[in-house]
């Protein structure tokens, strides 16, 4: 069996937007998106002592190889990075197209995603990738197991839990409540360097550059602005009358 885990290399610390390109500034240090560590951990847990292969897949700048190496150090077997200048500035439609092509090439039985990217991007990519692969998708997995030729997932929703079963091949996005990711051991870190790490261009993947990156995107960033200010804030110290002061404040705001 083969499990592919999609991971993202995200800027470390507080991310910022580049005023010129209006893209996320990716020039600084980066790290494995911490939500993706849950997906890597889950793949390793499912693998256990079996001969299942865990391959980590990413699209990003060359530096994203660092994040893939971290996943290898955790215990993944192989890494595939799609890195191409023409892939930069991609929106969801373009990103899902490239990732789907990379996953198609792998032909994994199970594709895992983390629940969101910590660099401000949304939490919606897996459904687009699953649609392109024409596979069933289950998101917000709080528990995941392999049963027969399928997955058994406990999905967390606003209303409680749904228990969902889907046949393999399938796509599952795990929540960060599913596990506690392991730290790479020293042995793992040393061993990671020797594991197969492949870097692919769009051409090698058979994706037309016009369909990827900014060119293949259907959304655009128009402008950056400061957030609306929160005016007129008050701060008081409780002198025994704070409860009354709060009630007066709420009454004035017509919130009672």
């Amino acid at each position: 069996m083969k499990i592919a885990v999609c991971v993202k290399h995200v800027p470390e610390g507080s991310a910022r937007l580049d005023a010129g390109s209006k893209r996320l500034d990716r020039s600084g240090e980066g790290a494995l998106n911490r939500f993706d560590a849950n997906a890597v951990e889950e793949a390793l847990r499912l693998k256990g002592e079996s001969d299942t292969e865990v391959v980590v897949v990413s699209m990003g700048p060359e530096k994203a190889a660092d994040s893939l190496r971290k996943a290898l150090a955790m215990g993944a077997d192989r890494a595939v990075l799609v890195s191409d200048d023409a892939a930069a500035g991609a929106d969801l439609v373009a990103t899902s197209r490239v990732l789907a092509a990379a996953l198609e090439r792998e032909g994994a039985d199970l594709v895992l995603f983390g629940q969101q990217a910590s660099d401000g991007d949304g939490a919606v990519l897996w459904a687009a990738v699953a649609e392109r692969l024409r596979r069933p998708v289950v998101s917000q997995a709080a528990a995941l197991s392999l049963e027969g030729a399928g997955v058994h997932v406990k999905r967390q929703t606003e209303f409680g839990y749904d228990v969902i079963e889907a046949p393999l091949p399938a796509v599952v996005a795990v929540s960060d409540a599913i596990n506690e990711p392991r730290y790479p051991s020293l042995k793992g870190i040393m061993g990671a360097k020797k594991k197969p790490q492949e870097v692919l261009t769009l051409a090698e993947l058979g994706v037309d550059a016009a369909q990827a990156g900014e060119a293949g995107s259907q959304t655009t960033v128009l402008a950056l602005a400061a957030p609306p200010a929160r005016g007129g804030a008050q701060k008081i110290e409780d002198d025994g009358n704070a409860a009354q002061a709060i009630v007066d404040f709420l009454a004035e705001k017509r919130l009672l």
């Binding site: 507080s14 024409r134 079963e165 960033v221 402008a223 701060k235």
Partner: protein, 321 residues
């Protein structure tokens, strides 16, 4: 503009978030329609009319009863194509996010998500997206049609628009093989005693400062008095003081109620991201340097164990409950 709004339902209740998006769509003008997909949902169509839908496309089929996204992608793709809709709007939820994303891939359409607002500027649709912990607002656009947008929970008030009975159009449901592969084999619904936190106008949230799991009684009593729901920080959920369903923040729900009362919450960025778009924020914390005071409308430095019981009593008196 020809706009389609995905109206989500839970049981026989239309979700307030999606009705808010519908009302917003109506305020932008043009033709506005809603789409309802589920089992036995035809009866809910009329309500969508009063929130601004002139037409409601109803896909009523037992195969759509389970809350799964992929069959809904099939329904929406058909409605968008047949109806020639240029704009498709969603209120964020676990289900809606997956439907919107799947639809974007199916139609190769641009999707902007996590939007707090949308405006028409020089004839073009512009989305407002708070980013990077809401430290910056990004104006986003679409290069092609249909344009897909996913809005943050609670971005718009669900105010009836006074629209009349909508025209109901039945959608013939045809599902793709990969859309029907996943099956719901069980559901564990949590009993809620008040409004769900994403739909609540008032949220009373508790953090470490409540001192112990029992401290949540204070939050619950105040929430009850205010007619609101109870939220929690990641720290107390991780510590097992309160269920994950109530978690607000980067790894929980994003909420924007009319009133957010933060009890013993320091206001770490991971929490701030989930609640800072609340209309009014009141914080009680004994640490005068707590970051929460930087984005509160009323900050109270003091012992919440002293203040909250008094506050609950005063609110009850004021509201006559």
């Amino acid at each position: 503009m020809k706009t389609l709004v995905f109206v989500e339902h839970h049981g026989s209740e239309l979700q307030k978030g999606s009705l808010g998006v519908l009302a917003k769509a109506a305020s932008l003008g043009g033709d506005v329609a809603a789409v309802l997909a589920g089992g036995g949902v035809t009866a809910l169509a009329a309500e969508a009319g009063s929130f601004g839908a002139a037409t409601v496309h109803v896909a009523d089929d037992a195969s759509l009863e389970p809350p799964l996204p992929q069959p809904r992608v099939d329904v929406l793709a058909k409605v968008v194509r047949d109806g020639g809709y240029d704009t498709v709007l969603f209120a964020n939820s676990v289900l809606a996010a997956d439907v919107a994303s799947g639809l974007a891939a199916r139609l190769d359409a641009g999707i902007n998500w996590d939007l707090a607002d949308v405006v028409v500027q020089d004839g073009a649709l512009v989305g407002k997206r708070p980013a990077l912990g809401d430290s910056v607002y990004v104006d986003v656009g679409w290069k092609s049609e249909p344009r897909i947008a996913l809005f943050r929970a609670g971005s718009f008030d669900a105010t009836p628009t006074g629209g009349g009975a909508p025209q109901v159009e039945t959608v013939a449901v045809g599902l793709e093989p990969h859309s029907t592969a996943a099956k719901v084999v069980g559901r564990e619904l949590e009993e809620s005693t008040g409004p769900s936190i994403e739909d609540a106008d008032v949220i009373v949230a508790g953090g470490r400062g409540l001192g112990a799991p029992e401290g949540f009684t204070l939050a619950e009593e105040l929430a009850r008095a205010l007619g609101g729901a109870v939220g929690a920080t990641r720290a107390v959920v991780d510590a097992g003081w309160y269920p994950y369903a109530a978690q607000i923040g980067q790894t929980g729900k994003t909420v924007s109620p009319k009133l957010y009362v933060a009890l013993g919450i320091s206001g770490a960025i991971q929490h701030k991201v989930g609640m800072q778009s609340s209309s009014v924020i009141v914080a009680i914390n004994k640490d005068p340097n707590a970051p929460i005071f930087e984005f509160s409308d009323l900050g109270v430095v003091g012992d919440l164990h002293e203040i909250v019981p008094k506050l609950t009593e005063l609110v009850k008196q004021q509201r006559g409950s």
